[in-house]
């Protein structure tokens, strides 16, 4: 019989220790996989989307001859409106060619090709500018105009000389000219405020598409969600937590709420379509309907944290209030609710954040529509929040469905905007929790 030292591990111990190390390694790699997934997700979105916040413009001096724009010479806006964007495009092409010639850069491109390097939106920009300043007719105007999506993509690395050779919308010569113009300082890239303020643009002009309508629509919906779901959620959680007797009814409500929180969001879209649009005949794709649908979805998701916040207020507070003669209602509204308010507020903000990012139910109530008009908060015809609108996440979806590759960048840019909104909301929630949280 051999005596083994305790200090030397035998084969079985070695095996067990190896199993221990393996197990720990599995755990660590699971964490690594999860964090890697997060990093890849963010890198992918930010990598493709960050460039949406920069946009290529050209400084163009456009001639504005009176005989083309206002033959009568009386500067009557209604008459001047008869000149369509096609009329302006010709002037634009001429102006841009002049700029190219003046810069002394040799090119074999025709006037039409040179003009085609500008965005189709540029003609509308200059038309709006003239209609706003009719006195400019007869002189010339120097403006920063959008370049088209391919030229813009070239400066962002999305379009290369090789891919341009295969592309019917641009050519390597155009890109070479664009590069020369950039070196000459005529084409320049600047921060793209228009991305945050412009409405959506048609399929041909990703360079002009913006999030203005979507942000406004999302804002309206968040107002509706806040106004409807906050009071109802607080009232419901106060009743369930403080007053409800323990019986079958309240059990039913309770089970119901936890189930509603787990119902797939698209089901709320079907509900909204059937009740708010088909039955109550509210306007399709309006922020009112969108907001109501999101409120129904958010309600249980707020009630659950609100109840937890009420529950965390110690019974001694209630007892003390009751002991000095307060009614049950007074003890709740004067003491418990104020103490639970930070917790409830945190839950509300997080719930709002979820509602802000929700897409599926909004697709069903028609928010996929192409909307170029900024929706008004109230009109006598459409009612409160009744005008057609779109929303941030739905705008992302819309752009993924477009053919032009420029929209992929726009969609990612929209997501960055959405994520920044969410980040701010969650930061506020965390701040509130840190500042007001009490440990009893």
């Amino acid at each position: 019989m051999t005596h083994k030292s305790l200090l030397i591990a035998d084969a079985r111990t070695k095996k067990r220790n190896a199993a221990e190390r393996r197990f720990k390694a599995y755990g660590l790699s699971a964490i690594v996989v999860a964090i890697l997934a997060l990093v890849m997700l963010l890198v992918s979105v930010f990598g493709t989307g960050a460039s949406a916040f920069r946009q290529t413009y050209a400084t163009v001096t456009v001639p504005l001859p009176e005989d083309k724009l206002d033959k009568s010479g009386v500067r009557d806006i209604e008459v001047m409106k008869k000149v369509t964007t096609i009329g302006y495009t010709k002037l634009l092409n001429e102006g841009f060619e002049n700029v190219v010639i003046a810069s002394g850069i040799p090119t074999g491109l025709s006037r039409k090709d040179i003009g085609g390097m500008l965005s189709k939106e540029a003609a509308a920009t200059i038309r709006d500018h003239i209609l706003a300043n009719p006195d400019l007719v007869g002189t010339e105007a120097t403006l920063d105009l959008l370049m088209n999506g391919r030229i813009d993509g070239y400066f962002k690395g999305r379009v290369t000389l090789e891919s341009a050779a295969l592309d019917s919308n641009t050519s390597p010569e155009e890109l070479a000219l664009a590069q020369a113009l950039k070196d000459a300082g005529i084409i320049h890239t600047k921060f793209n405020w228009a991305f945050l303020t412009n409405p959506d643009a048609s399929d041909q002009r990703p360079e002009a598409a913006g999030l203005g309508v979507a942000i406004l629509g999302s804002l309206y919906m968040m107002i509706v969600v806040l106004v409807t779901s906050l009071p109802i959620a607080v009232a419901a959680s106060i009743y369930l937590e403080e007053f409800a007797p323990k019986n079958r009814w309240t059990d039913l409500i309770e089970v119901n709420i936890s189930n509603l929180a787990a119902v797939p969001s698209i089901v709320y879209g079907i509900l909204g379509l059937a009740i708010f649009i088909n039955f109550m005949e509210l306007n399709q794709s309006s922020p009112l309907v969108g907001g109501l649908v999101l409120s129904l979805m958010t309600l249980p998701r707020i009630i659950i944290p609100a109840r937890a916040a009420l529950k965390s207020v110690p019974p001694s507070i209630r007892d003390a209030a009751l002991g000095v003669g307060a009614s049950k209602m007074q003890s709740v509204f004067h003491h418990v609710l104020p103490l639970a308010a930070p917790g409830i507020l945190t839950g509300v903000i997080i719930g709002l954040g979820q509602a802000l990012g929700e897409t599926a139910p909004l697709l069903l109530i028609g928010m996929v529509a192409f909307v170029r008009e900024y929706p008004a908060a109230y009109t006598p015809d459409a009612g409160l929040f009744g005008e057609a609108s779109t929303a941030l996440p739905v705008q992302v979806y819309n752009w993924t469905q477009r053919a032009d590759p420029g929209f992929v960048e726009r969609a990612s840019g929209a997501i960055i905007t959405l994520l920044i909104f969410l980040l701010v909301m969650n930061a506020v929630a965390i701040f509130l929790r840190r500042k007001f949280e009490r440990r009893w």
Partner: protein, 410 residues
């Protein structure tokens, strides 16, 4: 019927009496009522409020609530049933006025205003919590109603048992749910195969092994994944994961050349589910009493042996519940599959082929410009009801397990 009368009514009132008139009047009456009732109460006590059964402000509160609560109730009933038609604004006005007068009349030193005001408040609270029930009823009825319409135009056996899905808006569609269910389940299976081990191991590592520093960094990082909207995951699938899987796996291995595939959607959905599985499992593992761990370690078991043979078995029911909840999330997920899985209804075992799911088809059948009475549109409600029933069953079962398990150690 209801729908038309209600529309008629809203249009009529736009010309007659706009809806905001009675609502504004109610608000004004409530404010005025508060003021007058408080005055009247103080006056009825002859200026000595000790003679009153409640504070003057509580008389005011009672009157204000007596104006607001019945009017709100009338508004909801009126909107819900539509039968009152164009008279609704007038009805609201008279209800508000009645509440105003009756409650003012009741003001006297002996009247217990606070108790009565609190009864009104309680009614408000109860009404708010009933909304939860009404939502469920609304979901079920709105879908049941349209599903019945669908089945009156389309044979239910063909819907549930046919393996062909080919909607045709000129009629004569084949609308079998089986290929959609197949896609849904296949994608969910891949998602769970990825998310459950990763989420579970992450939870185990975080709760049993990680140092405080690792935990304080890794836990919020994983929770960020939970806060990201699903449209972001969808875009990730569309522009990154899909092309990657196609170029490096599907094409070289000869599995096809589609960027949208079951694998794409499944993997991305798996990422989405990681925080869901891990945070639920974390709670459940932490709920296992420390004494059980100490007992096992005291007998000489290593940490991993303790976890595998003591902690996990004790936490198993809860973990199963968490997995079921995750499965229900996977089945109901929409945006990831809309952007990542494709639109072709197909039953195949090849995970690199595009397939489609129930939720994708709900979206595609309801977003086109379609006739609302055709079976091609109505089928979306039948699909929605099926989805609702499946996820509800999973949720009820999972919540039952989780709740039952929690009681064991508390």
């Amino acid at each position: 019927m209801y729908a038309t009368s209600l529309a008629q009514f809203t249009k009529d009132t736009r010309h007659m009496l706009p809806m905001y008139v009675p609502l504004l009047a109610t608000l004004l009456l409530a404010v005025a009522g508060y003021y007058f009732a408080a005055k009247r109460a103080a006056a009825s006590a002859g200026g000595d409020i000790r003679k009153l059964a409640a504070l003057p402000s509580q008389y005011g509160l009672f009157t204000a609530l007596s104006v607001i609560v019945p009017t709100l109730a009338a508004l909801i009933v009126g909107l819900g049933f539509g039968g009152l038609s164009g008279a609704l604004p007038l009805v609201l006005l008279s209800v508000a006025g009645l509440g105003f007068l009756v409650s003012l009349y009741k003001v006297s030193p002996a009247f217990r205003a606070r108790t009565h005001a609190e009864t009104w408040i309680k009614i408000i609270l109860i009404a708010a919590s009933v909304i939860a029930i009404l939502t469920t009823v609304g979901i079920v009825f709105s879908m049941l109603f349209e599903t019945r319409n669908f089945f009156s135009q389309y044979d239910w056996r063909a819907f549930f048992f046919s393996t062909e899905w080919s909607p045709n808006f000129r009629g004569n569609s084949a609308l079998g749910i089986i290929p959609l269910l197949w896609g849904t389940l296949y994608i969910s299976l891949i998602a769970l195969t990825f998310a459950v081990p990763v989420g579970l191991f992450a939870a185990i590592y975080l709760s049993e092994y990680a140092s405080r520093r690792t935990r304080s960094f890794a836990k919020p990082a994983i929770e960020i994944l939970a806060g990201i909207p699903t449209i972001v995951y969808g875009l990730f699938a569309l522009i990154t994961v899909g092309p990657f899987l196609r170029d490096y796996f599907a094409q070289p291995m000869g599995f096809g050349d589609s960027a949208s595939s079951v694998m794409t959607a499944g993997l991305v959905m798996g990422i989405m589910l990681i925080p869901f599985v891990s945070s639920l499992s974390d709670d459940i593992i932490n709920a296992v009493p420390q004494a059980m761990r100490d007992g096992s370690l005291g007998l000489g078991a290593t940490k991993s042996e303790t976890i595998r043979q003591v902690v996990i078995p004790a936490a198993l029911p809860g973990i199963v519940g968490a997995i079921l909840l995750a499965a229900s999330r996977a089945i109901g997920e929409t945006m990831i599959v809309v952007l990542g899985a494709g639109a072709a209804a197909r039953m195949s075992l090849n995970p690199f082929e595009a397939m489609t799911t129930v939720t994708v088809k709900i979206v595609s059948q309801l977003t086109g410009d379609t006739d609302f009475a055709s079976p091609e549109t109505l089928v979306a409600f039948a699909l929605g009801l099926t989805l609702f029933v499946i996820t509800l069953g999973l949720n009820v079962f999972a919540l039952y397990i989780v709740r039952k398990y929690r009681e064991q150690y508390e």
